[in-house]
Amino acid sequence: MGDAHLEIRNVHKAYGRVAAVQDLSFAAPRGSVFGLLGPNGAGKTTTIRMVMRIALPDAGEIRLDGQVIDDDLRERIGYLPEERGLYRRMKVLDHLVFLGEIRGLERGESRRRAGLWLEKLGLSDRAGRRVEELSKGMQQKVQFASTVIHEPELVILDEPFSGLDPIATRQLKDEISGMRERGGTVLFSTHVMPQAEELCDHICLMNRGRAILTGPLDEVRARFARSALTVDTPASDAELAAVPGVTAVRRVEDRRVLDLGEGVDVAGVVRALAARVPLLAVQPVVDSLEDIFLKSVEGDHAALA
């Protein structure tokens, strides 16, 4: 996983006097699922558009496999935009063939793969129907198939889960995991943190056009792992506070949360606790990605204020 498959280095993009992306750098390792996270308006879509050269960066560079992305290199990427549409009056098979062709497939090959995909999606009997006759869910499947019909090494999905029902969401998640297993790289943007937490191994958290957190999900989590324990015990607050290393005791619902001092050996505290009070349960406190996200964004805003 070491080498950077997609690398974004010091990218700037401004529209008029409004900076949409500022000094953004991150690298998506080969074979990773990379989450581009952030609130609405953070610059995620602008970043993706710059990768696809729909918008060009004012400064900085974007490389795929070490090569600066040009118009031809885009054929190695499969891109599913957030605003996705199809020609409504085109026939389903023709449409898929067309999208395969503009993504670089030769016509015959595109036709062959389009047929296979329709079979896989269970839409073979609709091949001659117009796109507008398909249900919305079926159209989404066709769109997804067209994104990967040319077997790209990198797939970029902009808010792929918006508008999907739970079944389609599940299928797309499986599809993303499957792509990683086959050695492909997936970059997707979302503002729904539990999804990112479930799928990503690397993230870049953006706010107001800047990256405020970047790296492997584990590392980001570890960086935010608070020194705190949740305990379930009949012992009194005073008894708990007397344990060495504990700086504060809070009640959260029917449990107690013990805040520990900076750099305290958590395992040592647990041993000391077990020696002094009866313990029913002990759990280290781990922030969810959502907590990290909210905290970071709030912190970012506070820093600017």
Partner: protein, 449 residues
């Protein structure tokens, strides 16, 4: 730099998705039918405006009425039965007070018992005018034949009064018709270049060029807007350069137009046969000289490229047909000018005005072609016209037009949206960029505290 492997799928899609529709075939068949219909209808209606008319002649000359009836009958006998005018002429002798008699006759006209009254109390016309009292002064055909008949009869009367023997009257009062004979550059004569037919032909062909250039230009506009409203454009521009998309689209739609033209030309060449089958008086195929058919197609192509590029530029600046309507109608207005100028150009194709306006690239597809249908312009003008048209086309690729239009939109700095568009168009000229940049920019703007 165009990558044809990218352009071709777009071109093919644009072409097939249009040719495979019923609408294409309906319009291919109905346009010539309507065109020919619209041109022939007035003539046809005219030919059916025959009928029986009762006319009274107020005259003291007893032979006048018979003479009139005879002359009218002679003249109209050449027409088909259906279109024959049958005029019965009744003599009314002037009697009593003229104004009272006139009043009585007027009552008969209003009561539809008479179609009209020729008021000719004294034989001999000092003023060269004869009064015709009628309730319908726009019955051109009836009035026209009455006029020539009255003139002829009066001429006979005057000749005979001047001492010309009766047997020479027919010869001296013979009616003369002017037959136009068209002379080509090689001095060849076309004896039966019937004016109406040649006129109708010019009109049909020029109007077809006009309509198709507008229609197909508008198709391009619609296509661009459809891609935006269906949101597929994002996928397209992630894979194609804007120029590749535009070239594919314009050539694809143009190919649809050419297909239609090919069908029409084949139909035109075989009109004679088709007309014979239908037993109708279709304008004969031999009327359309082959070189005209060639220029028919050439001017469509050149006109189409110009207007398609303009329409593509309009399409790139707007998001929906409603928004584009105003600007689009400005483009159409250019063509309407050409149509307004068509009549003057047709009647005097050599005048300075005709030469100048027909060389203006926007008008040339219609007006220069109109001139060609009437008479072949000097070769240098044909060459100049084509050079101007091709030069214009090469000089303004559609995307450049698009970015230029966006840049113009940015001249009002008060609107942040349009300022963003200007920014967008300074990076690779992009027909769709205006929209994207302004949307994105809008999102970024809303984040400002």
């Amino acid at each position: 730099m165009l990558r044809w492997r990218k352009v071709l799928p777009v071109l093919r899609r644009e072409y097939l998705s249009r040719v495979q529709t019923k609408a294409f075939w309906i319009s291919t068949i109905s346009v010539p039918v309507l065109m020919i219909g619209a041109t022939l209808l007035p003539t046809w209606v005219m030919s059916r405006t025959g009928g029986e008319y009762q006319i009274a002649v107020v005259t003291a000359d007893p032979g006048l009425a018979q003479d009139l009836a005879r002359v009218i009958a002679e003249r109209t006998s050449r027409h088909a039965v259906a279109g024959r005018l049958q005029v019965t002429v009744r003599q009314v002798t002037p009697e009593g007070e003229p104004s009272a008699q006139r009043q009585r006759l007027k009552r008969l006209v209003v009561g539809k018992e008479l179609a009209g009254v020729i008021w000719l109390p004294e034989v001999g016309v000092a003023k060269g005018e004869v009064e015709y009292l009628t309730s319908n002064v726009t019955a051109f055909r009836l009035i026209g034949s009455l006029e020539s008949a009255v003139a002829n009869v009066l001429l006979r009367r005057q000749l005979s009064r001047a001492g010309v023997p009766a047997d020479r009257l027919d010869e001296l009062a013979r009616r003369v018709e002017l037959h136009p004979v068209r002379i080509a550059d090689d001095l060849g004569e076309t004896a039966d270049a019937a004016f109406e037919k040649s006129f109708a032909l010019s009109y049909i062909l020029s109007l077809t060029v006009y309509m198709t250039v507008l229609f197909y230009g508008y198709y391009v506009l619609r296509g661009v807007l459809e891609e935006k409203s269906s949101r597929i454009v994002e996928i397209i521009v992630a894979n194609l350069r804007p120029m590749e998309l535009m070239v594919g689209k314009i050539f694809g739609v143009g190919a649809v137009g050419l297909t239609q033209y090919a069908i029409w030309v084949v139909l035109a060449v075989n009109t004679g046969a088709i007309g014979a089958l239908a037993g109708a008086a279709m304008p004969s195929a031999t009327l359309v000289p082959p070189h005209l058919l060639v220029f028919f197609i050439v001017f469509f192509i050149l006109g189409y490229f110009q207007f398609a590029a303009l329409y593509a530029a309009v399409g790139s600046a707007f998001n929906s047909e409603e928004e584009a309507q105003q600007t689009q109608s400005l483009v159409a207005l250019v063509m309407v000018f050409a149509i307004v100028l068509m009549m003057p150009v047709m009647s005097s194709p050599d005048s300075t005005l005709s030469v100048v306006v027909s060389l203006i690239p926007f008008f040339a597809p219609v007006l220069f072609f109109t001139r060609m249908t009437v008479q072949t312009p000097p070769t240098w003008q044909i060459v100049l016209c084509l050079v101007l048209l091709v030069g214009r086309k090469a000089g303004s690729p559609p995307t450049r037009g698009g970015s230029r239009l966006q840049a113009q939109g940015s001249s009002s700095p008060a609107q942040p949206g349009s300022r963003l568009q200007a920014q967008g168009s300074s990076s690779p000229a992009h027909p769709y960029q205006g929209r994207f940049t302004s949307r994105e920019g809008g999102g970024a703007l809303s984040l400002e505290p």
